[in-house]
Amino acid sequence: MKHIRNISLLAAALICAAPALAETVTYKGKPGSSVTISGTSTIHDWTVESKLIGGSMEFNGNLDKPGKVDAKGESMISVRSIKSDKKAMDDVMHAAMKSDEHKRIDFKLKELIAEGGMKFKATGDLSVAGVTKEVKFPVTMEKGDDNVMKVKGELDTKMTDFGITPPSPPIAGGVIKTGDDVKIVFEWLTQKK
């Protein structure tokens, strides 16, 4: 009797496992993405941008259905590639982000909750300048041609949350002081692998 029970338990396990394995879809980051970081200062507002968002994400199941999504995701941005049209400001920014030691901004998805209509709430660990912090932000996804999935989102955060002192560059007598609040807006192009 025991072995029949074991077999049926095993069969039940297999039946439960099978659908999960069949539906995982992986999307990989592709050129055409963009991420901007905007902030303020005592003199003028500023924006810096990178076009390089790498990494991948995988889903299991229906993205339209509200509720927790079985998802994994990791992405990275090369700090060196984040630029504005003012080289002096870029150098100040890279130094503040300790880009020599920490060459990347990394994000690891921990939870993705679907709200229906391809709108989601993402929670994950964001690592900047060697400091990791949990962040929550809204995300939308859009299917495109050629199995492309465009992931858009934005999040507000503070430099000091990552141990970054808002830079006060040594020009104009140190009059310029950068604001702590920054807004990150991204549009990540991914393609089904």
Binding site: P31, L52, S81, D85
Partner: protein, 462 residues
């Protein structure tokens, strides 16, 4: 508009002491009723622009060709904080030794192929005689090095095209040509002025290079003597117009965004009859499609008035000499054109003040006397600074892109176009090819004393 600007300075305004002291050229220009055109930050006596330019991390450089110019390049690189010379190469041991003094930490090579095989070398400067550029540059690009190739690119249109195409087909590495005025902030500043047509309709223009010198270099070794005097042999030299004139002609055409449609040449050996077959005195007249002309006047037999370019327009004439420019306005020139450049008033007034007898006021207006660091302001310095910075950014972009997305050459090329738009200005392969082709034909016209119509296909890269 400030009427003071048009009033010529009276004799009392100009102290004879100042005139002799060296404000003489400016003074002369003032008396002739001209205006000095200077970028405004220099006017306010602030630190020169190059001090403020942020620098990139270092790029390790190898210099191939350690003749006089190669050694100049090595010295200039020594002034940049991020351009370590890690290797030098020359077939002539004496030159290699001399160059080694300016770059004591550099590895020395007599065979350029060994330098190219050195993985420590990231970027290469090709400063050999013109006729040797092709093979070395092609090999350097094939070895995956970022390359700065001296101008003119080559002695034949075919070779120049080969170099330009190799650069075009190697998007993963950066290429720059030695047309250094293209990196010069002084020239960039003048572009707006010339291109907005404030000088009126083009009447004519000229470029002059006058310097009494033999151009012959000495060597105790007869075989070496022939090699180092490649400029004096028509088989290996592009003549005065090619080796020297290319810089001025490239800028003139860049300013006007026009290329000549024909060129007529004249040349003779007036002074240096030492067995050479390259003319020491030349004139080339270039014709443009709007009926205007440009004259190139080069000689090694007389030094008067040195080198400068003149652009003559119906509203004003523009003189560009070394790192200064002066505008000579016509009396009937429209006021509007002038007012666009009213910001120069400030500097003019300050120069005016300096000329009015009080030399100490002049030094008080500026942080340091203008000639204190002449070397730092040379076009070569700006060009090398651009080369190092642009090479680093190019290299970083390729690395970052590949790390993020893997190998996708087409998309990489697109991404690099973006990166290219933020470069420090410098001459690229296309501009260098076109200017090289132009001076090669001009040299032909000079040698044959003929008029040559410049066929568009000679300037096409394909």
């Amino acid at each position: 508009m400030n009427n003071d600007l048009l009033k010529p300075l009276s004799a009392e305004d100009v102290d004879r002491r100042d005139f002799i002291k060296g404000a003489s050229m400016s003074t002369l220009m003032m008396l002739l009723g001209s205006t000095v055109l200077v970028p405004s930050n220099q006017a306010r006596g602030q630190d020169s622009v190059e001090k403020k330019r942020a620098t990139s991390p270092p790029v390790k450089i190898g210099v191939i060709g350690c003749g006089a110019w190669g050694r100049d390049i090595i010295s200039t690189l020594g002034q940049l904080p991020n351009a370590p010379v890690v290797a030098i190469c020359d077939i002539y041991p004496a030159y290699l030794r001399r160059a080694g003094k300016a770059a004591p930490d550099a590895k020395t090579y007599e065979d350029y192929k060994q330098l190219l095989a050195d993985e420590n070398v990231e970027a290469v400067i090709v400063a050999t005689p013109t006729y040797l550029h092709r093979q070395i540059t092609l090999d350097a690009i094939a070895a995956g090095k970022h390359v700065y190739c001296e101008a003119p690119l080559a002695g034949s249109i075919e070779d120049a095209r080969a170099i330009a195409l190799a650069a075009k087909r190697a998007p993963r590495t950066y290429f720059q040509a030695g047309l250094n005025y293209r990196s010069d902030p002084q020239r960039h500043f003048l572009i707006d002025f010339i291109r907005t047509g404030s000088w009126g309709k083009t009447v004519t223009s000229r470029a002059q290079y006058h310097k009494k010198q033999s151009w012959r270099r000495a060597s105790s070794n007869a075989e070496q003597e022939k090699l180092i005097n490649w400029r004096l042999d028509a088989a290996t030299s592009t003549g005065l117009v090619g080796e020297l004139g290319i810089h001025q002609l490239d800028i003139a055409n860049w300013f006007r965004l026009k290329r000549p449609v024909a060129v007529t040449g004249f040349g003779s050996i007036i002074e240096w009859k030492d067995g050479r077959n390259v003319d020491d005195t030349v004139q080339a007249v270039f014709e443009y499609d709007d009926g205007s002309t440009m004259v190139y006047d080069g000689t090694l037999a007389n030094s008067f008035d040195s080198d400068y370019e003149m652009y003559y327009g119906t509203s004003a004439a523009l003189m560009v000499r070394e790192n200064k420019a002066w505008m000579f306005k016509e009396v009937d020139a429209p006021l509007l054109g002038w007012e666009v450049y009213a910001r120069k008033d400030t500097f003019y007034k300050e120069v005016g003040v300096a000329l009015v007898a009080n030399a100490t006021k002049q030094t008080a207006l500026q942080d340091k006397p203008q000639d204190a660091s002449p070397y730092a302001s040379t076009p070569l310095f700006y060009a090398l600074e651009a080369f190092v910075s642009n090479t680093y950014n190019h290299k970083a972009a390729v690395e970052d892109f590949t790390e993020t997305f893997g190998d996708d050459n087409e998309a990489l090329v697109e991404y690099l176009k973006d990166v290219a738009s933020t470069r420090l200005p410098a001459a690229g392969f296309k501009d260098a090819f076109e200017s090289t082709a132009l001076v090669i034909k001009a040299n032909e016209a000079i040698q044959s004393k003929k008029r040559i119509e410049l066929k568009p296909e000679w300037f096409e890269l394909g």
